[in-house]
């Protein structure tokens, strides 16, 4: 197994005003593996992944302490180039959010912003990204159609293709399949499994079976704390902490 560390988080604390949403979280995210974050609503898991590409900067009154080390630098430092960071660490959201543009333009958007202009280069990156997102076969004959005409599952894979087009290293996925039906969900899960060969993936999910199916490692968050972080099979078969046990067996509360 590849044990290289992609992101190392040390003593991360985060406050929204006076409310502390993350409490002293330390975690090493393995490179080219899928890491699932689970926990009840409000446990801090979404806040945590948003920290990894500085999305929380968009919220007022946020204060963070600690370190998020990525490629040798602390991305929480004020001099971090956030645009470059978000190119390398991209995010897929719960609800597919394609631009109201053609399928082609959705995927070509990022490379264009980053300076790719030549048509044949864009053609190449669009095809490669759609193939990597397992969508090419379904859309190759209608690349100029509006992305909004795709099904929910196709839209979500298009959003993943749009992300892949800018050649990121890390994919953050916040409940990427929760708005999809079981068939579209299983396509996304298969895709996640394929993508981990080339990317490091961190997925937030409410669906524990999904974490069990796709993740190499799983982290359980509760009340802003990282309670337990272990290989997925260990976390679901023999959790060490009573709180994890109660959560995964559904006996919380």
């Amino acid at each position: 197994m590849n044990n290289a560390i992609e992101i190392s988080v040390k003593n991360l604390n985060l406050w929204f005003g006076k409310f502390q949403a993350l409490k002293n979280v330390s975690i090493d995210i393995q490179k080219n593996q899928v890491t699932a974050l689970i926990g009840p609503s409000g446990c801090g898991k979404s806040t945590f992944i948003k920290t990894l590409d500085r999305m929380n900067d968009l919220v007022d009154n946020v204060k963070t302490t600690g370190e998020v080390l990525y490629q040798g630098t602390n991305i929480l430092d004020s001099d971090t180039d956030v645009v470059e960071l978000r190119k390398q660490i991209g995010m897929v959201f719960q609800k597919p959010n394609p631009f109201p543009k053609s399928i082609f333009d959705n995927v070509a958007y990022g490379p264009k912003v980053h300076g790719v202009r030549k048509k044949h280069n864009l053609n190449e990156v669009v095809e490669r990204s759609l193939k990597a997102a397992a969508l090419w076969e379904e859309v190759k004959d209608r690349l100029n159609e509006s992305a909004l005409r795709l099904s929910g599952g196709q839209q979500q894979r298009l959003c993943i293709a749009r992300l892949l087009a800018v050649e990121p290293e890390v994919l953050l996925m916040d409940e990427p399949a929760s708005a999809l039906d079981p068939i579209a969900t299983s396509k996304i899960e298969d895709l996640i499994y394929e993508l981990k060969k080339d990317y490091t993936i961190i997925i937030v999910t409410h669906n524990m079976q999904q974490a069990a199916r796709v993740a190499t490692n799983t982290a359980f968050f509760y009340l802003g704390e990282l309670v337990e972080y272990a290989p997925t099979i260990d976390l679901f078969e023999r959790p060490r902490d009573k709180r994890t046990e109660d959560y995964v067996t559904g006996k919380f509360g």
Partner: protein, 221 residues
């Protein structure tokens, strides 16, 4: 406590496994009483009782499958179900060995004539009865300390088994058996083999209980 219906279903599962265990343990006690007292009628009743054990096996397997399919159990719940599912096979096999012993008892002479000292044989019988009863108790109590002692107890069973077989074979070889006794000796050779196998299943149950409680798969070797 959330998931009350699920928690109740798990509790029912454990109770059924304990009931099946109690029944199997009782069958072991009864068949060995039938052997000691040459009670063919009791042996016949034990044989008939095996259907009840088999029914439990099927019923509990269905319960486990339904919990697995419908409730997505995790952590200790998952281990309880996995342990129960495997353990009922051990209990069912013990039940089958009990039937095998009972069938021998029915055909043996009354009283049974054996050419070797009864001390070791009695020890084997007593210890096997006790191991089966204890294995059910370890499951009911989740008693890992007790379960861990099974391997050591099984070593003693293996020793007794070997010792008795050697002595019986020696007695046969030395012509100490009359024509009438030979048949009983042959039956007893089978019976002690069945007892040794029953003890192995009790050891399996002990190991499964350790896994159920601690989650360490090394117990499932």
């Amino acid at each position: 406590m959330a998931r009350t219906r699920y928690v109740r279903k798990l509790k029912e599962l454990r109770q059924n496994v304990m009931d099946m265990g109690a029944l199997t343990s009782q069958s072991v006690q009864d068949v060995l009483t039938a052997l000691e007292t040459s009670d063919a009628a009791l042996a016949e009743r034990v044989i008939a009782n095996d259907d009840v054990i088999d029914n439990f096996d099927r019923k509990i397997e269905a319960q486990c499958m339904s919990l697995l399919a419908l409730e997505q159990p995790m952590a200790k719940d998952l281990r309880i179900i996995a342990t129960s599912l495997k353990m009922i096979t051990d209990l069912e096999r013990i039940g089958d060995f009990v039937v095998d012993i009972a069938e021998e008892v029915v055909t043996m002479a009354k009283p049974i004539r054996i050419p070797v000292s009864a001390t070791k044989f009695n020890e084997l019988v007593t210890e096997v009865k006790s191991m089966v009863a204890d294995s059910i108790e370890t499951y009911a109590e989740g008693n890992v300390q007790k379960a861990r002692r099974f391997e050591g107890r099984d070593d003693r069973i293996d020793f007794l088994y070997k010792h008795i077989v050697e002595n019986m074979v020696k007695a046969l070889a030395q012509g100490q058996c009359s024509t009438e006794t030979v048949a009983d000796v042959a039956s007893l050779l089978y019976i002690i083999r069945y007892l040794e196998r029953i003890a192995d299943h009790a050891v399996n149950i002990g190991n499964r209980v350790c896994y159920m409680e601690e989650g360490d798969r090394r117990y499932l070797k």
